[in-house]
């Protein structure tokens, strides 16, 4: 059984249909990249998988290890191992990163019937992950994302992912707003998370992030559907031809069929 099965997914927001019959299969241990032009539905797909309620699914299904993901509340999906690194991470004033992350980690542990982690056990664990993402220890006491630079926010997302150790990680345009150094650090963090029992979906506009996080599969999303899939070399083709080239080619294939 595949970890993630998306079948004929149709989703809309405010009466506008964005996903129009999307199919995708992801196995544990794989890294998939989803690329596509603006407005093609990449972020919508991420939000639907994270169970954001404003996105309404009208048709199709998503199975996570055989469980109906669409029947889950956002917090249950998170506890089942779905993690989304936000394109625009949210600020929470007055709540420190350490407090927030321990609360999140304990919510997940509680869901799985595990003992909650106290501050004494949590701190060394947190510090170790901070080193991986090359962030300063002052992160712990700063409020969640408040006053963070764009790069710090993205690093914080990956730091959270490293701590929560999800089954399925979805990175929604994590490269946007990152300079080359920050991109390298973020990519190192993600690469360190690659494991045979974890799947990672990297959503991006540009090929450059994929120089650092090398995907096993690349999918091209256009107008709510995946129009082409391939290996990592597909990203390079896209870089050369642009989405328009792939789109034309795809519709030509569709006609031929």
């Amino acid at each position: 059984m595949s970890m993630l099965e998306i079948r004929n997914l149709h989703a809309r927001i405010e009466n506008r249909e964005i996903l129009k019959g999307l199919n995708l299969t992801v196995n544990a241990g794989e890294v998939h990249s989803i690329m596509g032009p603006n407005g093609s539905g990449k972020s919508t797909l991420a939000q639907v998988m994270a169970r954001r309620e404003n996105y309404v699914v009208t048709e199709g299904e998503i199975l996570l290890d055989g469980k109906d993901l669409l029947a889950m509340k956002p917090e249950d999906a998170a506890c089942e191992g779905v993690f989304m690194a936000f394109q625009y991470p949210i600020e929470i004033a007055g709540i420190s990163n350490a407090y927030f992350l321990r609360a999140a980690l304990n919510a997940v542990r509680k869901y799985h019937g595990k003992k909650e982690m106290d501050a004494m056990d949590f701190m060394p664990f947190y510090k170790q992950k901070m080193k991986l993402l090359e962030v300063d220890e002052s992160f712990m006491t700063r409020s969640v994302n408040e006053g963070f630079s764009g790069g710090e926010k993205k690093r914080n997302e990956i730091l959270q992912m490293a701590l929560l150790e999800p089954k399925l990680a979805i990175l929604d345009e994590t490269d946007s707003g990152l300079d080359i150094d920050a991109m390298r650090i973020v990519a190192n963090g993600v690469n360190a998370m690659r494991s045979p029992d974890r799947a990672i979906i990297v959503i991006t506009h540009y090929q450059r992030l994929l120089d650092y996080i090398v995907p096993d599969f690349v999918h091209v999303l256009v107008d709510g559907r995946i129009v082409k899939s391939g290996g990592k070399e597909l990203a390079l083709t896209l870089e050369e031809q642009g989405y328009v080239g792939v789109e034309t080619e795809a519709s030509a294939t569709a006609v031929a069929v």
């Binding site: 994270a50 954001r52 309620e53 404003n54 509340k73 956002p74 917090e75 999906a77 998170a78 506890c79 993690f83 989304m84 936000f86 991470p89 949210i90 600020e91 929470i92 004033a93 007055g94 709540i95 927030f100 992350l101 609360a103 999140a104 980690l105 919510a107 997940v108 869901y111 409020s143 959270q160 929560l164």
Partner: protein, 487 residues
């Protein structure tokens, strides 16, 4: 209706859990207000002549004000006219027998009521480190740790007892910070106040425990008019806390209190309030307490400090501006406030800092939370008089909106007559967004925990100022006041 308003609506449904009524026999005055009512109260309390005279002067002043414009009209609140002749001004649980009180003689029903409120009064179950004065309707029913405090010279007793045993202190300080002529409600309180707490901390004494007064309105149709007076003599320190609740009733009840604080040279008073009066019916807005309160502290001595911390979650109407007169050189005034207006609640609250002495400093941190149809107003005044060389004020005023039917309003008044004064004012308004709640949910936190985390983060600067034991209570109270039927 969009999804996020639905989520938020369901989050702000809450239920008032302190609305029970205690069955006790009470000794009440007939409804209505005239000189006879005041003489009756004074007689019941066996007061010395100076008290009755002061009350009557206050009453005559109040009558004058009532003819002019009655309640002050400048506040941003709407309510039905108050019929002052339809209120019971004195209601006391009947004592089982006459004479000096000890706990065995307090009606067990009343003890039970306080236990239900989480404040057991009897010796074995008492909160450690907190001395409690329990005020039930118009009278104080019990005060704990009184004897222990007396050993180090601290007087902590019901106001009526202070009038009997320390008339010289009462005479000296009563009305010295809030004169009866101060405003309409202060005049009314001075005329009819029945009880409250009295604290005197002698020179150089640091009060070793928190002092607390718990106000409970129980009787129907009665008003509660208490008066608290705290004096910190030179070099002393005291931390005082008040809590309040009332039964669920359809009719509005009036609570008009006065609090006066006096800090002498090098003394510090920390005054914290967790106010949780019945807020009225969540759906119709019917009933609830009208909370018209005058609180003021005077930093009379050099280097003295008065700090107000309030968490206001209850009452249908809150009209309250705990203020500090910074008279002594280098004195410090602080105001930390969280005010919540949910459902149909209205709060017009803030502070006044009056800088008179040199190098006086004040800090104002006000956090307003509006939810449901609630209306929340911050009203603050910072006044720097001519002689206040080097005065400094920092004001931060933040509003948080939950949902799209509530309102937040800010009215800061600043007046500086000394050119060396430094005054800063920062204000912000934000909305608890669907995106914030979703972000926390995406990390595994249930929706209600997410909201309560966001609110606690917003209030953190104020909660930090509460005494430890009560900070936790205040957090819980706030989430209960906002909790709902999230599935």
């Amino acid at each position: 209706m969009s999804t996020d308003t639905k989520i938020i609506d369901s989050l702000v449904e809450g239920e008032y859990k302190w609305g029970f009524v205690t069955e006790v026999e009470s000794d009440s005055a007939p409804k209505g207000l005239n000189e006879d009512t005041i003489r009756l109260i004074s007689t019941k309390k066996n007061e010395p002549k100076f008290m009755l005279e002061w009350r009557l002067k206050a009453f005559r002043h109040w009558l004058k004000l009532e003819k002019q414009e009655a309640e002050p009209k400048w506040a941003n609140i709407k309510y039905d006219a108050i019929d002052y002749q339809d209120i019971i001004y004195y209601s006391a649980p009947k004592p089982k027998k006459a004479g000096p009180k000890n706990l065995d003689e307090v009606d067990p029903e009343i003890l039970l009521a306080y236990e239900k409120l989480g404040l057991p009064l009897n010796e074995q179950k008492r909160l450690a480190g907190v001395a409690v004065d329990a005020v039930f309707d118009s009278v104080s029913v019990a005060t704990t740790f009184q004897a222990k405090l007396a050993e180090i010279g601290i007087i902590f007793c019901p106001f009526s007892e202070a009038v009997q045993r320390h008339p010289e202190l009462v005479k000296k300080y009563l009305g010295s910070v809030v004169p009866y002529s101060d405003n309409f409600f202060a005049a009314l309180n001075a005329a009819v106040f029945t009880d409250g707490s009295f604290v005197y901390v002698p020179k150089g004494v640091r009060c070793p425990m928190e002092l607390m007064t718990y106000f409970r309105i129980n009787a129907a149709d009665s008003g509660q008019f208490e008066r608290t007076l705290i004096i910190a003599d030179e070099g002393s320190y005291v931390s005082y806390l008040e809590g309040c609740t009332a039964p669920t009733r359809d009719k509005n009840q009036l609570h008009a209190a006065v609090v006066e604080l006096v800090a002498h040279d090098n003394a510090e008073i920390k005054y914290s309030t967790v106010q949780n009066w019945y807020p009225g019916d969540p759906v119709t807005g019917k009933g609830g307490i009208y909370n018209f309160v005058t609180k003021r502290g005077k930093c009379e001595g050099v280097n003295s400090k008065i700090s107000w911390t309030q968490v206001e979650t209850g009452a249908a109407i809150t009209w309250k501006y705990p203020s500090v007169i910074l008279q002594g050189d280098n004195s410090v005034g602080e105001f930390y406030s969280v005010a919540l207006s949910n459902h149909w609640q209205q709060a017009d609250t803030g502070t006044k800092m009056i800088h008179i002495g040199k190098n006086t400093r004040s800090t104002i941190i006000a956090k307003g939370i509006s939810a449901g149809h609630g209306q929340n107003t911050y009203r603050g005044g910072v006044k720097v008089l001519k002689g206040a060389v080097g005065a400094r004020n920092y004001t931060q005023c933040d509003s948080l909106l939950i949902g799209d039917k509530c309102g937040a309003h800010t009215f800061p008044y600043i007046e500086a007559k000394n050119s060396t004064a430094r005054i800063e004012h920062e204000a912000s308004t934000s909305k608890v967004g669907d995106d914030q709640i979703f972000y926390l949910q995406q990390r595994g936190l249930p929706k209600e925990d997410a909201l309560s985390m966001i609110i606690n983060g917003f209030c953190k600067q104020v909660f930090r100022k509460l005494p430890m034991e009560f900070a936790v209570e205040a957090q819980k109270l706030l989430s209960v006041s906002l909790e709902g039927s999230v599935g």
